[in-house]
Amino acid sequence: MAQVSRFCPPRKSCHDWIGPPDKHSNLQPVHFYIPENESSLEQKLRELRQETQERNQQFWANQNLTFLKEKEEFIDSRLKAKGLELRAESGQKATLNAEEMADFYKEFLSKNFRKHMYCNRDWYKRNLAITFFMGKVALERIWKKLRLKQKKTSN
């Protein structure tokens, strides 16, 4: 369910930009800034972040949509079993209260447990890798600046 963002940041900006929460995944997409003199390490970091963002987006959008769909089906089946109308006279959709929904919540959680386990492991690995690379990139930039300063003072 990856949605291509139509946002373009102002040309002058040299930072990443973060957008509003996606309506399906609730994740806030990041538009990554690509500097002119991007090093290979910086490129690796950016691509890792991009890939992680896409995977997260896909997972959570799918997860949330499935939840909504299955919730609707559950409500419909329960209401039918009760012999109630799906819509009240006013035209509003009939719902079940939290206690009636409890069975659905339990079932949904256990059904998706394996998926979450996999996603968790993946996320933890990626998050740590991204942070580690961010640290490396930061050190690389500091080193570059120091070398530049050294060159300037020696000239």
Partner: protein, 438 residues
Amino acid sequence: MNIIAKRSASWVRGCVWYLERRALQESPRRFLHLLRNVNQQWVTFQHFNFLRHMYVTRLNRSFNQQIKPKPEPVPSPFLEKASLDEAKTEIYKMRPLSPPSLSLSRKPNEKESLELEPTPVIEGSIAVGTETKEEKQWKEMKLRVDDLPGILARLSKIKLTALVVSTTSAGFALAPAPFDWPCFLLTFVGTGLASCAANSINQFFEVPFDSNMNRTKSRPLVRGQISPLLAVSFAACCAVPGVALLTWGVNPLTGALGLFNIFLYTCCYTPLKRISIANTWVGAVVGAIPPLMGWTAATGSLDAGAFLLGGILYSWQFPHFNALSWGLREDYSRGGYCMMSVTHPDLCRRVALRHCLALVAMSAAAPALDVTTWTFPVIALPINLYISYLGFRFYRDADRKSSRKLFFCSLWHLPLFLLLMLTCKRPAAQGDAGGPQS
């Protein structure tokens, strides 16, 4: 809730005043007409919306404004968003940025992706109609120094940290040792730093999950207000001095407990939340350790009194958290959190009630262990009976109303309980007969 309403009202009035002033500079006639019709006491939502619309579509300004949505007001970190039944008016905080130079000497960047849309209004050069609402919501991920304190406060869950530090202080004060101010301050600061570190790492681990829960979607890492690297660095900068302060400034036992607690919270509780319901018990231990730390800071050792205090905090966590989690079942289920309220609802309520009763029992044990006098269980009985009663109602009724009542009761029960303990603290004996053990 009244405090929130008042604060929100004063924010709205402040923003409206600012907007009106700016708007007046622009088109006095239109706004004077509007002002004449507005009740000066309470600004209607429509009025505010109109002014905001006027403000945002203004183009010929030479300096840009950034609209940052104000984080939703929450009185306590534990309060779920869903439980706030009042209609929320959107309040936007406006901050002027320094005027950027609008020179056209931009270097074209070949690597940049093709522009599918004209550049957003932030550059101040495009006609109104082409910019969409969505584009306006994009924010530059640039850390501003004046935002940093607020961001770090939210990252470190400062309110929860304050609660943790107060339980540590209670442990320190209740310990049978003369109150030593320097030691107390070192413990206070060290525990606070350790708590900030633990909370930051917790948020660092949970970004995509936090985004999907109403209660946590405004956190700094979720919103991109701070980078993960900075969050981890901040956590390290808190953990290292915090634990060092406790180890060398207070005593090694307290330092070890602090370090252990950070580990327990970040590496056990946080991942366990998504694996098994056992996380609640681990989390209760995490909550029980701070008063233990306060006690060991004062006395230098762990004794029965320390464990009693730890036990009290441990038991308190259950009615508090189980009641809170009752209203968050949908979010937990969708987000993949393994909580008793979802998987084992009967157990959830049974455990909450069980631990309410345990609190009563522990109040009675307090004088037996020489922590307090016998007055304490007597004067604490009313509040203990009340929370047990609410625990029973929650157990029997199993509905949102009873869960909320129990949760809110737990919020005032704990501070009052600790205060009563303090007032009934067993005084240090003059002789050695029946004196508190050191």
